[in-house]
Amino acid sequence: SRKTRETRRRKKPETTPAETNFSPHPFGDASPHWSSRSCQIQTLYVSFRDLEWHDWIIAPNGYDAFYCSGECNFPLNAHMNATNHAIVQTLVHLMSPSLVPKPCCAPTKLSPISVLYFLDESNVILKKYKNMVVKSCGCH
């Protein structure tokens, strides 16, 4: 966590000019300022085989443990969704940045994943875990 914060701090100057010059007025310049640090889906592949858990997790070999990361800056990437509350919260944040935080970048659509593993040396289970895989992200 500390390393992540330090990395982000070091990367501060990398913010786009649109972000740094963004007008605090809610009806101000709405020019696109989407950047790679805006809310988006990120991929982290978890390999059960690499972790040497494949002797008891039969399938899958691993999975894309997608997660949501980034800031909720408007307008969002065309693939992103935002709740009405997030849009209103953004406007209020722009008016009172110290009082109201930006909306959160979080999953908007989740899907299940099936995992096949041994319960013990003889019994096996194929279990569907609901809402485990992030399919899309958005601002809440």
Binding site: T7, K11, L44, S69, S114, E121, N123, V124, K127
Partner: protein, 231 residues
């Protein structure tokens, strides 16, 4: 390893996890899966894991779904599918001349709160042997202190995997674990019901058979109640 956002489009490894951190992560995943500890390694090529692996693959590729309508329904309706290998060594039925005919399954690990959609006993019969026999599956019950047999399902021996509906006994075993006395196989010619044959003599693979991929097993389908245990 421990990964951080590289600021563009992916994560990069910052450092490797230590052994203790790795164990902690493993414990977290086991906890998520609902397991108290890492399961023991199972014998390779056994029939039950292979069956569930085929089900798993069929879920990924529905166009390649080559199983019966009833089973397809059960698979799609289920949130959890469990297979149980017969452990007749662990339990004696008390039925005479039972060798190879008695099957017992440890169903104590069925998760609480799961609704049972169905249960099947799957036996493999060598396709080249005695197709004109009848196989009957009985539930062993204790009636007034005496052991008795209750007919569960019947099938004609067609060779290959034979499927018997054992939902009734399975539901009873989960609800009343002490009632689990196992199942009894009766094999006979259609015109000689009193003359029982030994299952192995008609090509039915036994628990102690040399080919693990043909051993009998029980598979149960469950619908999740939506209740989640607290971590």
């Amino acid at each position: 390893g421990l990964y951080v956002d590289n600021g563009v489009d992916r994560t990069v490894m910052a450092r490797s996890l230590s052994r203790s951190e790795r164990q902690e992560v493993e414990h977290e995943i086991l906890n998520l899966l609902g397991l108290p500890s890492r399961p023991a390694r199972a014998p390779p090529n056994s029939a039950a894991p292979q069956f569930l692996l085929d089900v798993y693959k069929s879920l990924l590729d529905e166009s390649n779904f080559n199983i019966s309508g009833r089973e397809q329904y059960a698979i799609h309706e289920s949130d959890v599918i469990m297979s149980f290998t017969s452990r007749s060594d662990f339990h004696q039925s008390g039925v005479r001349h039972e060798r190879g005919r008695h099957l017992w399954f440890d169903v104590s690990e069925v998760p609480a709160g799961e609704a049972i959609v169905g249960a099947e006993l799957r036996l493999y019969q060598n396709p080249g042997l005695h197709k004109n026999v009848v196989i009957q599956v009985y539930e062993l019950v204790v009636d007034n202190g005496e052991k008795a047999l209750r007919l569960v399902d019947t099938a004609a021996a067609t060779g290959g995997w034979l499927v018997f509906n054992v939902t009734g006994p399975f539901t009873s075993w989960v609800a009343f674990p002490d009632s689990n006395q196992g199942l009894y196989l009766s094999v006979h010619f259609p015109d000689k019901p009193g003359h029982e044959l030994h299952p192995e003599d008609v090509g039915i693979a036994s628990v102690k058979g040399s080919d693990a991929s043909k051993q009998p097993f029980l598979v149960a389908f469950f619908k999740s109640s939506g209740h989640r245990t607290s971590r």
